[in-house]
């Protein structure tokens, strides 16, 4: 299946009529707009596949409430963070072999760009819920301004968000207001830094560069003839 990307549209304006439509997800988005109104600041539908909704930071906790209680999205998939800063360390793969295969790497960083449903800030918190009756998932995102990386907790609605928020807290440094038990999950107590941020260097790669693509395995069916049994 090749999925067709509908252009990102704000819920206020109508989508282009010639693009393939996804009635189910559009109805879902309509329902969410009804509940949340202007708190929805961006959305994206990939027809027949998925729905992304970006809400304001203030609306984040109430989103969980609405989708779980009123819309039957009771299954909690995951919650995590996104850091849209282009990695200042490049790919960390510019060993000799890679440079000969791919040419030299661009040294200047590309501009920061957010993904589906847009975004204005470097950090976003995102989470996914799923409906066990309709078998549809929604991915929610919310922008977090750099000077205040805090957002309301989902753990009062989705109990499973508890650990996910703890992980997100230590990996990204977001704080979740109202979380009962925000303490380290994976990292040791005195750990400094937030490892999943893009500006946190992967030390193993700084110390010893990746050997790169040394032997390129030929694709089966391309280089050698069909095996078959």
């Amino acid at each position: 299946m090749s999925s067709v990307d509908a252009p990102p549209d704000s819920p206020a304006e109508a989508a282009e009529p010639e693009a393939p439509r996804d009635a189910v997800r559009e109805a879902l988005l309509g329902r969410l707009t009804e509940e949340l109104g202007s708190e929805i600041v961006g959305s994206h539908i990939r027809v027949g596949d998925d729905l992304w909704v970006r809400v304001t930071r203030d609306a984040w906790p109430s989103v969980a409430d609405i989708v779980s209680r009123k819309m039957k999205f009771r299954f909690f998939d995951f919650l995590s963070g996104l850091d849209w800063l282009p990695s200042p360390f490049g790919r960390d793969m510019d060993s000799q072999e890679d440079i000969t295969v791919h040419g030299t790497l661009p040294k200047e960083l590309p501009p920061m760009a957010s993904g589906y449903a847009g975004g204005d800030t470097r950090f976003q918190v995102f989470a996914r819920v799923y409906s066990l009756t309709d078998h549809i998932g929604i991915t929610f995102k919310a922008d977090l301004p750099d000077d205040d990386l805090s957002v309301g907790t989902w753990s009062t609605v989705y109990a499973g968000a508890n650990w996910h928020e703890r992980e997100c807290w230590e990996m990204y440094g977001f704080s979740f207001n109202g979380h009962p038990h925000l303490k380290h999950l994976y990292l040791p107590g005195g750990f400094e830094g937030n490892p999943l941020r893009k500006d946190f260097p992967l030390l193993a790669r700084r110390v010893k560069p990746w050997p790169g693509i040394i032997d390129v395995e030929p694709m089966p069916g391309v280089a050698d003839e069909e095996g078959g049994e």
Binding site: R74, F75, F126, A159, P188, L196, G221, E229
Partner: protein
């Protein structure tokens, strides 16, 4: 040891647990603190469980993962798309091939390519073989945890039939690293189909033995029935998936309900089993039935493998177009998915790994509150987790 519990007792137990669910004890009152792990045999690796006891009862129970955290989400960001399969193999190391599949499917979705039908078929067969290899060990381990060592030996013996078949195709018993964007690395070796058919007969026989020795065993039932009850709404809100959800009566299987393109479960006839009780027994029973169904699926698919190419035409240097995708499959442990963010580069920009055990084990503080110490072991065994799948 808990005797078979009446319905009234079960309800009282559930309501007690529900009342305690939101209270988070901070280990401050009197009582004994018991440290299970990191090297406890009941923890399949290095899960540490800090339990606070009042006599034989557990007042609070806090799992402490992280002893095996390998930072895969970060490591994925500096690897090319094909290189990532090597990493994700090590997440759930008993069903390694199953970890590769959602990753490959996510990349294929963004690239807009699809594996040829033959590759999809063999992919599904290998997926189910890794499920059998994984859950067979669960069934054996369940016996070992509860004192029935025999089942453990049977499991290790009969799992080998499946691992041999996986090895014959992929070259690796544990870490196949065989799935590729656009297909599979190689075709099946000669004579493999007949051998696998024979192995599936042995798997069915093994399941019958487990049923006789363990699931039907009186002691096993006394240790698991009515213990560790998870009501369906709690399972949902914790994100429990796989057999843990179906054991609570949630009729949901991603293979049937939301099968991503690239797997061919719709081409075979099989059953999704559920159990209404939600206790340790029902979770174990579901997994036994799942093994049987998996063997059935493999058996059917072996008869219908189409001919053709094993690999679609893909560029030699794989760049995935910009976009985001979440693909999840029904892995042996539950829902395993990858949220992939691509910037059109050689390597992914961000990978969020949604592993099943992480959610499945996050219910332990809620579930183990108020149970007896020996029941902690049977509950943990029945929830079934792989440490690599929690810590990633």
């Amino acid at each position: 040891m808990a005797a078979p519990v009446s319905e009234r007792d079960q309800l009282a137990y559930i309501s007690n647990q529900a009342a305690d669910a939101r209270v988070n004890l901070e280990f401050e009152s009197e009582g004994m603190t018991l440290n299970m792990g990191p090297q406890h045999p009941a923890t399949h690796g290095t899960l540490r469980i800090l339990a606070k006891l009042d006599g034989e009862r557990v007042i609070s129970c806090e799992p402490m993962p992280g002893y095996m955290h390998r930072g895969y989400e970060k490591l994925c960001e500096v690897r090319t798309y094909p290189q990532v399969t090597t990493l994700v193999n090590r997440i759930d190391w008993l069903g390694s091939f199953a970890n590769e599949v959602p990753w490959i499917l996510a990349a294929e979705k963004l690239m807009g390519i699809e594996a040829p039908p033959r590759a999809q078929h063999i992919r599904t067969i290998l997926f189910e073989l890794s499920r059998i290899g994984n859950i067979a060990l669960f069934l054996g381990d369940l016996g070992i945890q509860l004192g029935g060592i025999t089942v453990g030996f049977y499991a290790f013996r009969d799992r080998e039939h499946v691992l041999n078949q996986v090895e014959a195709v992929t070259g690796g018993r544990f870490h196949p690293n065989f799935d590729r964007i656009g297909g599979l690395k190689d075709d099946l070796p000669k004579g493999w189909i007949a051998e696998t058919k024979a192995a599936m007969v042995k798997v069915q026989k093994f399941c019958d033995q487990v049923e006789d020795l363990l699931i039907g065993n009186e002691i096993f039932q006394a240790r698991t029935r009515g213990i560790g009850i998870i009501p369906p709404h709690v399972a949902e809100s914790y994100g429990l998936s796989g057999a843990n959800a179906r054991g609570s009566g949630i009729d949901w299987d991603l293979r049937r309900d939301n099968c991503p393109p690239g797997l061919v479960y719709d081409k075979c006839d099989w059953t999704v089993w559920t159990h209404p009780d939600g206790d340790s027994f029902s979770r174990s029973w579901i997994r036994l039935q799942e093994t049987r169904e998996a063997a059935k699926i493999v058996d059917q698919l072996l008869d219908t493998i189409p001919s053709g190419a094993i690999m679609a035409k893909v560029p030699r240097i794989i760049k995935v177009p910009e976009g985001e995708a979440y693909v999840a499959t029904e892995n042996p442990l539950g829902e395993m998915g990858y949220y992939l963010v691509s910037k059109g580069d050689l390597n992914p920009f961000r990978v969020k790994i949604r592993s099943a055990s992480f959610n499945n084990i996050s219910i332990v503080p809620w579930l183990c509150k108020g149970v007896y110490v020996p029941d902690v072991i049977s509950i943990l065994a029945s929830l079934y987790f792989i440490l690599g799948d929690i810590d990633r």
